[in-house]
């Protein structure tokens, strides 16, 4: 295996817009909101940027295709811009593009921007999207909650867990994220909720109720990355470096082969294993101080705790109920409220997760600052459990 990009790329600055129903602004405004914060944080002239990556998922709902929306909104100085899309891993893909370019020596300063403007069309939940011309002929007319609810049915059956107990653990996931979201000024949903509210909420797709589902939002987040040498030249003595970025898409095994049990995401397990190896992490539970995972639904976060090796097989419900992933737990998860409460503007989400990890590692997370975190993890799960794209990234605080 190649040596990877461990510590070859420094995050010089990051920005994140307020997430929510941003009727007051368009995608260009959201990008500028995030970009101005990142440029100020990076402390460089914006004209030093040499390349940019733009992550946008729903081109039908949002800013359409290509590099143009970013280049035009920011009036970028005639630099190459690449638009990327990889379902819910889109924001992370933008960062991966920028990080790889810097690690390869193709440029010294690169921008990764993710944006999504979902609320203008008035859709509740994620808008319908095309699945191509063949899949529509046979696959169900599913919704994301219905597709992810599948995990709960098979997880309960596989581990012999009664649904009421699983529902309680799932409720704890959401209660924890609302607790964290309430302390996050830019989050979309900022009210605390109780376990009873979650359990009594209207059913969306059995067994997922309303509070088992994340928010769907407008928002943008971005990062400016550089090399350790350039960061030192700018006077940085310590910085947040990228330790690993791994991405694994399904190749059809879950959808067509009997090997998959329907109760875990093999892509996440593989991406995590590779990311831990790239970053030199031997014991994730002991080493990861903060996690932002793809909690599109409560059951997703529960299953991911096992896929990311944070819980043993069948142990996630017990660990969750024991508070292992609460703010003051063993491995704090979704310290900014996660997709559940910070919100989920698809193309921005991977970068929003990196933003929270960056803020925590830099000691700038304000009211929700963890005591001296050193290693952060972000995870995306694009698509649906039987056909998905998983990304696992690791970030660390590093002497430069």
């Amino acid at each position: 295996m190649a040596s990877g990009i461990r510590d070859k790329v420094v995050i010089l600055g990051m920005g994140c817009s307020r997430f929510g129903e941003r009727w007051d602004c368009g995608a260009d405004d959201l990008m500028i909101e995030a970009f101005e914060e990142a440029v100020a944080d990076a402390g460089i002239d914006r004209d030093r940027l040499e390349a940019a990556w733009l992550g946008v998922f729903y081109d039908e709902q949002n800013v359409s295709k290509s590099a143009l929306p970013l280049a035009m909104a920011l009036r970028l100085p005639d630099i190459p811009v690449t638009r990327v899309e990889n379902l819910c891993a889109t924001g992370t893909e933008a960062l991966r593009g920028a990080a790889y370019a810097v690690a390869a020596g193709a440029c010294d300063f690169a921008l990764a921007m993710g944006v999504e403007k979902l609320k203008d069309t008035g859709f509740g939940g994620l808008p319908e999207r095309t699945k191509g011309t063949f899949e529509d002929l046979w696959q169900p007319g599913f919704t994301p909650p219905g597709a992810f609810a599948q995990l709960a049915a098979s997880y309960a059956a596989k581990h012999g867990i009664e649904m009421p107990l699983l529902k309680r653990a799932m409720a704890h996931v959401s209660v924890k994220s609302h607790e964290n979201g309430a302390r996050t000024p830019r989050a979309h949903l900022r009210r605390r909720i109780t376990e009873q509210q979650v359990l009594e909420a209207p059913m969306v797709a059995w067994p997922l109720g309303v509070y088992d589902c994340c928010g769907v939002s407008d928002g943008a987040a971005c990062a400016i990355v550089t090399t350790p040498e350039k960061a030192r030249e700018l006077g940085r003595r310590e910085g947040v470096t990228i330790k690993a970025m791994q991405l694994v898409p399904s190749n059809g095994v879950e959808l067509s082969h009997s090997a998959w049990d329907g109760a875990h995401t093999p892509t996440t397990r593989l991406a995590a294993r590779r990311a831990y190896a790239e970053a030199g992490v031997r014991d994730p539970r002991a080493e990861v101080s903060v996690m932002e995972v793809h909690d599109c639904f409560s059951i997703t976060e529960l299953v991911l705790m096992e896929d990311l090796a944070m819980s043993g097989e069948g142990r996630a419900p017990a660990d969750i109920l024991d508070g292992a992933f609460d703010f003051d737990g063993r491995n704090p998860c979704q310290t900014d409220g996660g997709l559940k409460c910070f919100g989920h503007p698809v193309g921005a989400s991977g970068l929003r997760m990196a933003y929270e990890v960056y803020a925590q590692l830099s000691g700038r997370a304000g009211e929700r600052q963890l005591p001296s975190p050193s290693l952060g993890l972000t995870h995306n799960l694009g698509g649906i459990p039987n056909r998905n794209i998983a990304s696992v990234s690791l970030f660390g605080l590093q002497r430069l």
């Binding site: 008035g122 859709f123 509740g124 939940g125 808008p127 319908e128 095309t130 011309t133 063949f134 529509d136 002929l137 046979w138 696959q139 169900p140 007319g141 599913f142 919704t143 909650p145 219905g146 597709a147 609810a149 599948q150 995990l151 049915a153 098979s154 309960a156 059956a157 059913m203 969306v204 797709a205 059995w206 997922l208 190749n251 059809g252 095994v253 879950e254 959808l255 067509s256 082969h257 009997s258 090997a259 998959w260 049990d261 329907g262 109760a263 039987n386």
Partner: protein
């Protein structure tokens, strides 16, 4: 109508099918001895007997197009029809034909050029494998109240075939609360959705409870 007559036709019987309206089509058939042989598919009478009754008059009117309920934004999706895709994939869609890899024996749906078995992945090794008569088992499922369905909830999930292989398909004839992980299903050919803009009805196979038929 032809299928219903064939259910009870005797060998050697003559069957005339006539379609009338802006002209006339007439087709004359003669039954062979095979009509008296063992049946592999359900008869029309058995299919009708295994029906789920609609007892809501409002829903009945909506099904007949006499009421136009607001089904929400998810019903506004354009179910684009690509006839060339249906023609190209006709065996998979209309006959529920999957692929069986000659190299490793893995059954898979949809059939594909490259075998899905991670230990095989050979190209152009699959032969047609009929799944319509296979037994299935529910691996996962949900009852989705958010998805568009003329008769919510939309119930669907991952189903495993007895000979191996998995398909993500819609369920039918299940009442809410009836589906269970591990439950046995059979496969039935049903209306999947309608392209109202172009007036095209799509059919595909759905998982139904494995009752006697």
């Amino acid at each position: 109508m032809l299928a219903q007559v064939l259910d009870s036709a005797a060998p050697e019987a003559w069957i005339l099918v006539v379609g009338f309206g802006q002209g006339v089509d007439a087709l004359l058939f003669r039954a062979t001895a095979a009509v008296a042989g063992p049946r592999t598919v359900a008869t029309v009478a058995a299919t009708l007997a295994a029906r789920t009754e609609e007892t809501s008059y409002t829903r009945f009117l909506a099904h007949c197009g006499l009421l136009s309920p607001d089904f929400g934004m998810r019903a506004e999706r354009d179910n684009r029809t690509a006839q060339s895709v249906l023609w190209r994939k006709r065996d998979a869609i209309t006959a529920f034909t999957g692929g069986r890899c000659r190299a490793c024996g893995t059954v898979q749906f949809p059939p594909s050029r490259v075998c899905v078995n991670p230990a095989c992945r050979q190209t152009d090794t699959q032969v047609p494998h009929r799944l319509a008569d296979s037994a299935g088992r529910i691996k996962t499922f949900t009852e989705d109240w958010l998805a568009y369905s003329a008769r919510p909830p939309l119930i669907y999930g991952n189903v495993e075939f007895s000979e191996g292989g998995n398909a993500f398909i819609e369920f039918t004839d299940f009442a809410p609360g009836e589906a269970r992980v591990g439950a046995a299903v059979r496969f039935v050919f049903r209306l999947k959705d309608v392209d109202r803009v172009r007036g095209f009805r799509r059919y595909f196979w759905k998982a139904a409870p494995a009752r006697k038929h």
